[in-house]
């Protein structure tokens, strides 16, 4: 990337000034406290606002045009077409854990872009605000997301319910009960060992382990995804099919296939689960956007999905009960556009709305090969202090509800989480291939 940029700059005197700015932007420098404040405490100077928007109101198809600018294109369409109405609530601050901010302060000056990323240790790699004049701003945001704190150093989501729904009829075609685990092998900041789990000869950055609990035909299906630290290497994927009783190696191209028939691809997990190098990234703008952030204990709960210990899952609403019944709030967001690097990808473009404070993509608009809006992805983020006791004080915003709506097929996958930031439930042994073979 850097090499290409240099070549490009040397070949065009007319844009020499712009290139000089861009090259300077790539050069690492010590992060200032002001930059850290901008990055991690964007609401220090006040909450964002938008003309006509106030807490307590509902955005529906009659007034949505007024708020088009603070919605993703797919979510605007959802409201405009009557799928969903968005209840608006007050914006609140959701600061990330102090160790992560400290790590950013200590390490950000060592990070620079090369073929991929160089010098990264932990924390947010590029805490500076993205600039439209920086040709690598999009790529930096993608790295910020990759090394963000989604689920912290590790977490379990169990039970994790996915409903496949025909939105036209409301018919629930399938209900899958999952157990998901996430673990960062590297760049850890909160839970020992810090910063890395060793030995780790493959240099895996992150593992995702999935087990299906229900229904019967998928029961005991397990999936292990291992993402390399080296972003140029494709990750590894292993699938244990309970009915076959053996582990199958997956070609990781399957990450762009429908996951177990849902409306999500593996690549969609957590907003984007591919390699940074799989897409060409472009920073669009920073602006205020309505985001699905809320306090779990204040939301309406589903009458069916509940745990014996009293934990209740978020209710669904809207057309086909395809959307989480939650409140949204106006937040500072970096809009990031990603286009697949390889032809043949089922997606032509993703518009990812990265929360500036958390740096996770809570809403996305996904475009099909023809360039038409295909899917709307929503991940409701819950404040950890208003959730299960185990999450309180963790500082990790929790994926708590969500959906992937296929606007073309009128189909959706509604998802409900019970997330726990609990290292004891995420031992590294869970992320070994052999662990899959111990299944039933």
């Amino acid at each position: 990337m850097k090499k290409n940029l240099k070549a490009h700059c040397l070949g065009s005197l007319k844009i020499a000034a712009a290139c000089a700015v861009a090259l300077l932007a790539q050069a690492a420098h010590a992060v200032t406290e002001a930059e850290l404040d901008d990055a991690f405490f964007p609401y220090k100077k006040g909450m964002p606002s938008f003309p006509g928007l106030k807490a307590g109101m509902v955005i529906n198809k009659s007034n949505v045009d007024q708020f088009k600018d603070i919605l993703s294109p797919a979510h605007y369409k959802l409201v405009k077409d009557g799928w969903y109405e968005i209840p608006v609530a007050e914006t609140f601050d959701m600061p990330l854990p102090k160790p992560f901010i400290d790590a950013t302060r200590q390490n950000a000056d060592k990070v620079k872009l090369g073929n991929t990323i160089e010098g990264y240790i932990s924390g947010r790699p590029f805490p500076q605000q993205p600039s439209a004049s920086d040709p690598h701003a999009g790529e930096k945001l993608a790295w910020n997301f990759k090394y963000g704190l989604n689920w912290g150093d590790g977490a379990i989501v169990y039970p994790f319910y996915w409903q496949y729904i025909n939105a036209n009829t409301g018919n629930v075609e399938r209900t899958i009960k999952f157990e998901f685990h996430f673990l960062n092998f590297m760049h850890r900041v909160s839970n020992p060992p810090i910063p890395n789990i060793t030995p780790n000869p493959s240099a895996f950055y992150r593992g995702t382990y999935v087990k299906v609990i229900e229904p019967l035909d998928l029961k005991n299906t397990q999936l292990l995804l291992q993402a390399y630290e080296d972003d140029t290497k494709r990750g590894e994927a292993y699938l244990y099919l309970g009915f076959q009783r053996r582990v199958r190696r997956l070609a990781t191209g399957q990450t762009t296939d429908s996951f177990l028939g849902s409306d999500l691809m593996i690549e969609d997990f957590e907003g984007y689960n591919g390699r940074v190098s799989d897409y060409k990234w472009k920073f669009i703008e920073t602006k205020s956007v309505l985001m699905p952030y809320y306090k779990h204990n204040l939301m309406k709960k589903d009458p069916v999905f509940k745990d014996p210990d009293g934990y209740a899952f978020i209710a669904a609403t809207g057309k086909g009960q395809c959307m989480p019944d939650i409140t949204w709030q106006l937040r500072k967001v970096h809009v990031l556009e990603g286009r697949p690097a390889e032809a043949g990808h089922p997606v032509s473009k993703r518009l990812i709305y990265l929360d500036a404070q958390i740096m996770t993509p809570s809403i996305s608009t996904i475009y099909d090969r023809k360039g038409d809006i295909w899917k709307a992805f929503t991940i409701g983020k819950a404040h950890p202090d208003f959730h299960l006791p185990v999450n309180k004080g963790s500082g990790i915003p929790l994926d708590d509800s969500g959906s992937m709506v296929d606007l073309q097929a009128n189909h959706c996958t509604m998802i409900r989480f019970r997330g726990e930031i609990d290292p004891a439930k995420n031992p590294a042994t869970l992320f070994q291939v052999q662990n899959l073979r111990g299944g039933d």
Binding site: E173, R174, A203, E236, R245, T252, G253, D257, S258, Q432
Partner: protein, 677 residues
Amino acid sequence: MAVPALAQDLPAMGESTSPWKVDVFYENDTRFRGKDNTGNRVGLSKFRNTLQVEADKNLSDGWAFHGILRGTYDGVYQLNQDEYGKSAGGAVNLENSGGQMVGIPFLRSPTSVPYGQAPVNNASIKLLGGPLAGNAFGFNSTVPGTVANPSTGQGAVPLPYSPNQGLRLLFDRWGTNPNGVQVAVPVRPCDKDSRGCADFGGYGDLKQSELEAPEFNSRLDFIREAYVKKLFNLDDGKQVFVKVGKQQVVWGRTDLFRVLDVINPMDYSRGNIYDEMQDIRIPMWILQAEYRMGASDSFQDRNVSVVWNFDQFRPNNLGQCGQPNVIIDAGCTFRAFKTLWDYGGTVGNFANLALPPPTPGLTSGAGNGAFLATDFGPHQIGIRNVDLPDWKFNNTQLGLKWEGVTANGFSFSVNGLTYRSQMPSLHMINTGVTNMFTGAIQNTTDLIAFDLVYPRVNLLGGSADFQIPDANLAVRLEAAYTSGEEFTNTARRDGYSRNHVFRSVIGLDRPTIIPWINEAEATLISGQLFYQHIFDHEEYAGAYGQYGMVDWKDNVTGTLLMRASLMNARLNPQVIFARDFKSHAFAMAPSVSYRYSDNLQFSIGANYKFRSSQERWHYDDQRAANPFAPFTQYPGQGASPGSAGLSGLVPLGGFRAGPIGAAWKEDEIQFTMKYKF
């Protein structure tokens, strides 16, 4: 979801607060076949109703229990009695190609004779005089009870009664054998007709009720799985995993055919090779212990596991003759030969007595020589005993596996296993046999009289998988080298040889977006090539054809699966192709499954087989094995036993045809419905 009402009635099994998790489903699998090779329209070939219960419970102290109970009832034996039930089979005629050519008047006979009325029998041979006056040909096909067949001339010696009813000709469903050996085989359930019934290892001696509901037997097969497991965390971060009980242990990485996946025997009677392996593996009582070492500086994952199969030996269930699925028709071959031993019987086109012999160098079969149907007496040819290994420590089976993943993602295993062959071997009886020409008890070789045994086999192998990202391919590899396997070998005096065997497979899986099928969901394309090489393979050119090992020295089998996913994976059309390259047999199995809901699924499918020519499957039938010179000598043969290679489809063609070829004309359509309560 669990079934609370059922779960509440289950025992506590420990102090855990975890409740029982119980799933129950019902499945109906109905299949129809068209005409078989005889022109007979088969009709219903399966009406199997399955009720399966899967139960899980966390026990105390970290142990967990998993159990699967399965009971099936296949109504095909009641609903299609003419094919598979009490009325199956009938009277048969066997070919007697030289009947009109023979010059001796009392041997002159029709070219097709009913079972039990062969021209070569006790009375006719006795008329030849000399040492043949004391011959032991002939059996009792005419008078039930203990009355001897008068034609045998053996006076009041009672002969078991084997009437011409409830029979078919061996291999007649998928082949013809003009001028070759023809053998009759009883096809009714063993409580309707006990001829040829013997326990070959869980099959072969089953009553109709046991065929209808095969899980309810002395081996408690209705317990598909019942094991406990626990993961022990060691202080150094390593782990020991223990799983003990009735279970399936899967070593392989392949579909449809097996290379390393040989710990559990298979039940091919359920659906030949076409059922999912997990449904046809026969679970065994096994102790598995794994030492999981996790990552090291050079490996991302390492573990060593021991598998001790301490269950009493069981072979593959090859299907009892008369069932809809009898893989490579072995079960029919065994039953036919067991009947021959116990009762005697007519063998069509067998004796070349007083007839023009075949012309050396010409292909065996129609037009080359002529033969007379022959009534053999009991205890002369066929299968005498089945030697099933008893339970004792030395007969248990032990495996060791070292498995790991390298730092660059190459997953591999090294496997060693000492086990009993799951396929039978036929050992010729060479001592104390009856010379049917003279009635004398003597020693000889090359006689088609056998004991059926299951030899011990040692296996050393390995497997690997990895991906080729640029091609979006997952690659699966397996290889195994065995010693101790036995193969039919007509060049050997005892009818078999013990050979080392190398098997391997390469499998390629590629998920591919095929836009005209589905732009969003990939279609899985999965191909496999299996290779088998038999070391020290023996095959020789005899005067009338090849003889030696019926199995091919080198063979390749290929499979191709294409499975598409539509409507959020609720509609899954797929097609499986399988090709046996040596036997020139080909199978195609298209199907479509539709999942209406989490609880209800339907599927329809079909299964078609193709072949090039049957002649490829002909092999030395040992008519020219010459066990009793001079009576069995063909021109050019010496006095010593040894085959001259006279060939035909029966009795070894099933091995040549393989599981695909030997199921030719068993084309099926199927409907399946599965409902989870």
